[in-house]
């Protein structure tokens, strides 16, 4: 018995060293450490003025925001359909109804004021290749008012799927959730409808690729391929992890990021809960079996040793 335990100990140690070398150690070498996300957006100027939602609504109309953005919640439909909008701007400008539900307020103000700077896309856009959304030259008070207005219309408690739709959907497909860059894939009555939808999707994706220089990946399995920590840190600041990427910093709050991750988990790792619950029972079964097998072995071997 003593010798058996010694052999087991040697095997456990050798396997442990090998495992440590090829998993935690090798991966720490291959994926250099980066600071974890804080969601403070400390490089941006804080918004110190108190805003007024009513004046914000006027400012939105006066400054022509609704020329490009829809605000369904306030009765402003999108001025163009997504495909035409993507042909014009590269990507469909977001509907602003729930933008404040997911985007940090400081980030929102800074983005309106200077989108390229807030999105960390200075390497992609310049005066010769301007960003589709122009910078805002109004006062800080105007900015505060607009943000206050957007906050007043935004849903306080959005679902994980809505958070995903507002934050990610205009660039990324999520096919395991039936979501495309054009929104949820509808049920088609016939092949003509299907073909029309697919043509629109192809056109939108082509425009997007032209705009970004690459096709943004489908996020269906990202929870398994990247894992929650990576997604969290990446969303907060894509440039920090993938330097030079076309993905803008989107300025999500920590809570909204968690919702997006939760949604990706529901889509890409739907059986997680079931897996973790069933595992306990299976392990328990084999623990009991091991005890019984040991007793049986002792019983049988009594005769021979």
């Amino acid at each position: 018995m003593n010798r058996e335990l010694k052999i087991l100990a040697i095997i456990v140690i050798l396997v442990g060293i090998t495992y440590w070398g090829i998993e935690p150690y090798a991966h720490s070498v291959m994926h250099p450490h980066h600071e974890p996300a804080t969601f403070k957006y400390e490089d941006l100027k804080p918004l110190n003025v108190k805003g007024d939602a009513a004046r914000g609504k006027e400012a939105i109309v006066n400054n022509g925001c609704t020329g490009c953005h829809g605000i369904e919640a306030a009765g402003f439909p999108a001025p163009m359909d997504p495909v035409t909008a993507s042909a014009t701007y590269g990507v469909n400008p977001p509907d602003l109804s729930n933008i404040a539900s997911v985007v940090d307020r400081k980030f929102l103000a800074n983005f309106i004021k200077n989108p390229v700077h807030a999105a960390l896309l200075e390497h992609k856009f310049s005066d010769s290749k301007p960003y589709p959304m122009p910078a805002f030259y109004g006062s800080d008070q105007d900015l505060a008012d607009i943000v206050a207005y957007l906050e007043s219309i935004a849903k306080k408690d959005i679902s994980t799927r809505e958070a995903y739709e507002v934050a990610c959907m205009r660039c990324h497909n999520l096919k395991y959730d039936n979501l495309t860059v054009l929104g949820e894939k509808p049920k088609f009555k016939n092949d003509v409808e299907r073909a029309e939808f697919e043509l629109n999707l192809a056109k939108y994706e082509a425009n997007l690729q032209n705009y970004l220089g690459t096709t943004p990946p489908d996020l269906s399995m990202y929870i398994r391929s990247r894992g929650p920590e990576y997604i969290r840190d990446f969303v907060e600041n894509p440039q920090k992890i993938l330097h030079g990427t076309a993905m803008p910093r989107v300025g999500l709050t920590e809570a909204a990021t968690e919702k997006v991750i939760k949604h990706l988990e529901k889509v890409g790792d739907r059986k997680k809960e079931k897996r973790e619950r069933l595992g306990v029972w299976v392990l328990l079964y084999f623990v009991i079996l091991s005890v019984l097998a040991y007793l049986w072995k002792k019983e049988i071997w009594k005769e021979v040793i």
């Binding site: 010798r3 058996e4 052999i7 087991l8 095997i11 050798l14 396997v15 060293i17 090998t18 495992y19 070398g21 090829i22 998993e23 150690y25 090798a26 070498v29 291959m30 395991y176 990946p217 489908d218 269906s220 399995m221 398994r224 391929s225 990247r226 894992g227 890409g268 739907r270 059986k271 079931k274 897996r275 973790e276 069933l278 595992g279 299976v282 392990l283 084999f286 623990v287 079996l289 091991s290 097998a293 040991y294 049986w296 072995k297 019983e299 049988i300 071997w301 005769e303 021979v304 040793i305």
Partner: protein
């Protein structure tokens, strides 16, 4: 024709026709195993259990898997993992078993090396076992391609490309294997066929052969003792069970194996449910994309040691490029274990701790293979390249030294050691760029390979202590 009487039970009826009682005696109740064993002797049954799990889970996966580059990824990651009832469980079990089975194979294999169970009549057990190892490797490689993720694709690309290094026919061979000029739909479909039909069939036949080869020489024991199995079996059957040096396969041997398998299952299912990333690499959850090379391409952990032997040669030698040098060493590494019974020139069957120099050799081999495995995954940049070189040359050197070591030819052994150390030194100088890889390096390698190939042929066997 045999004489048949009326049977009184179904068993008797079958027994008359199939000799079940006799069959059971031959296969289990009177199949004799030495008593002097430890839990390492249970690895065969653990392997059989893992293989059974792989076959059964594989059958369930096969019902939903689609071997088509357009459908494969979604059929695995959506249909099987999310839609099918317990599909995720079968997939996790299959993937984790495929990885863990290699851990057990390596333990099984090194047990045989440690206790010298590969010689003196046991050569065919060893060779059929190595054939199983090679076939399992092909099975694992073809299976890894099926989910058609990023690493499926790029590993297939890199590994099939290696065949291009074979002189004269290399380029045509690669196209023949892939079924196309690059890894694509025909490649996936043919590897699917290999994975679910041809290779499992070969594995089943080899398992039969492996068991068959055990019958005459019998299983080895902890002390390498030469047991008279017939005499000991008579003792056991006469009721002297405590005195006999043997036990029957059923129920005595298997009762211990059941216990070991049960404990192993706790470990295995813990991995299946809570710790599977080592076997289901996250990067393979990205769909295959021929336009986007992953920053790090590496094989599964069980191939890392031979992969590092391939990568270890980082400089050109004479007319051979670094890649050629690597391919030669890689080719040798993949078949060298087959020849172990002929590299070991000592007839003594005893555990390594009673064989002096062989004990050191064994642990050096284990140490070297762990280093190769770890550095096989690390990026081969900077000093890692030199460590990989030392470990790869060291691996070949261990085999070059084995005939001299086991035949106690001190002079020859010193020559191998000195040549190896010189190769380490010139390798470092080339790495540090204080020396060009010129004629001296080429001559050293020539000497090294001459020692490697000639010693097992020239050195005479010596008889060991009985």
């Amino acid at each position: 024709m045999a004489h048949f009487t009326k049977a009184n039970s179904i068993y008797e009826w079958l027994d008359q026709r199939l000799a079940l009682t006799k069959l059971w005696k031959v296969l289990a109740a009177e199949y004799w195993i030495p008593k002097n064993i430890n839990f390492l002797w249970a690895m065969g049954v653990v392997l059989m259990t893992m293989f059974t799990i792989l076959v059964i889970s594989g059958i369930f996966l096969l019902m939903y898997y689609k071997p088509d580059t357009k459908l494969a990824f979604d059929s695995v990651n959506y249909t099987i993992m999310q839609e099918v009832w317990f599909g995720w469980l079968w997939r996790h079990m299959h993937a984790v078993a495929a990885s863990v089975v290699f851990l057990v194979i390596y333990i099984h294999m090194f047990t045989a090396i440690y206790y010298a169970s590969y010689k003196r009549g046991r050569e065919l057990i060893w060779i059929s076992g190595m054939l199983l190892f090679v076939t399992f490797s092909a099975e694992a490689f073809s299976g890894y391609m099926l989910p058609w993720g990023q690493m499926s694709y790029w590993a297939a690309q890199v590994i099939t490309n290696l065949f291009g290094g074979i002189p004269f026919i290399g380029d045509e061979l690669v196209i023949w294997i892939r079924g196309n000029f690059y890894v694509s739909d025909p490649t996936l479909t043919r590897f699917f066929m290999l994975h679910v039909f041809l290779l499992p069939l070969i594995i089943l036949m080899l398992i039969g052969l492996h068991f068959y080869t055990l019958r005459i020489p019998h299983v080895n024991n902890q002390d390498g003792e030469d047991i008279d199995f017939d005499a000991e079996a008579e003792k056991y059957k006469a009721g002297l069970k405590k005195e006999a040096k043997v036990i029957p396969f059923w129920p005595v041997f298997l009762s211990k194996d059941f216990f070991v398998v049960s404990v192993f299952m706790i470990f295995y299912f813990y991995l299946v449910f809570y710790h599977y990333d080592f076997a289901m690499d996250p990067i393979n959850f990205d769909p295959a994309n021929p336009m986007k090379t992953p920053p790090h391409i590496y094989p599964e952990w069980y191939f890392l040691w031979s992969y590092e032997v391939l990568r270890g040669f980082f400089f050109d030698v004479g007319p051979l490029s670094a890649m050629d040098m690597g391919l030669i060493a890689f080719g040798i590494a993949n078949v060298i274990f087959f020849f172990l019974p002929w590299f070991d020139k000592n007839d003594e069957v005893a555990p390594a701790h009673r064989r002096g120099g062989f004990f050191i050799w064994f642990w050096l081999l284990v140490f070297d293979m762990i280093i190769l495995t770890i550095w096989g995954k690390l990026p081969p940049t900077g000093f890692n390249a030199y460590i990989g070189y030392v470990a790869a040359v060291g691996f070949l050197a261990l085999f070059a030294a084995l005939p001299a070591l086991t035949a106690r030819r001190r002079g020859l052994l010193m020559l191998v050691i000195i040549t190896t150390l010189l190769l380490f030194i010139v390798g470092y100088m080339v790495y540090a760029e204080t020396m060009e890889s010129g004629i001296i390096v080429a001559l050293l390698f020539l000497l090294f390979y001459a020692l490697f190939f000639l010693s097992p042929v020239v050195v005479k066997r010596v008889g060991g202590a009985k």
